[in-house]
Amino acid sequence: MSAPDRTNASAICLSLGALLGYAAAYFFGLPKPIYLPVEGAWTFAPGPESITMGWYGLMLWGLAGAVVALPWARLSRVQAVCRRPWVMGVVLALLVASMLGIAGTEFVHWILTHEP
């Protein structure tokens, strides 16, 4: 396999891993470090009244997904698969599904169910 094949596979594995890691943590509520901005502390189990920030933890899941997926791009079999259009379609489908799923979830949570 050539260097361009390895680069293509790296781009696709990176995207797929990061998207899967982030989306899985978001939609399945995987445990993540949560920052408490008032206390300036991190926790996995915040109190019910705490002001919390889970976004950094979700970013870590995305990063972890990318780190796990990236080494697979060195395998020639993976490089061959990554040249197929359907694999790129899977990445795009995952992206669109994640974006729409997140938008729908946040819309229902913050816009439909919260009374000002």
Partner: protein, 148 residues
Amino acid sequence: MHWNKLLLLTHAAVAIPLIGSSVHNGLLSIRNLLGRPTPVRLRRLYPQVTLALYLAALLLGSIIYPAFRVEVRAAHLDVVHPWATGLFEIKEHWVALGIPLVIAQVLLPSDKGRAPVTRFRDLLGVATMIIVVWAGVVGLGLVVMEPL
């Protein structure tokens, strides 16, 4: 508080050229998807500029996020304008999803004609444009509504 204002201003100052570069890149991607001629040099340059600005805006946003979360979101938006919190949350998650897309565009070739990998790269360019424009509109809108 003054540091937060300065960082917020810098965040917005980085966001504006980011919107410009990602929209240029997205429009070039659409042209390429439609089979129209596009300058290869710019198709290589815009994703690189977008990546640098994207990471800078992300870093600045991450630094001021705790102050925003406490002083603006919890104190005001969640209570009075929950719809604005919803729009902000969508922005934050979409921006996170956009990071690998921008990196992938820099890695993928821009001069392979109408090969599947080029179409894939172009579609990532369009997706990045949508994410950045959404983030820009919501972010700048919130700054106007509720500055730090």
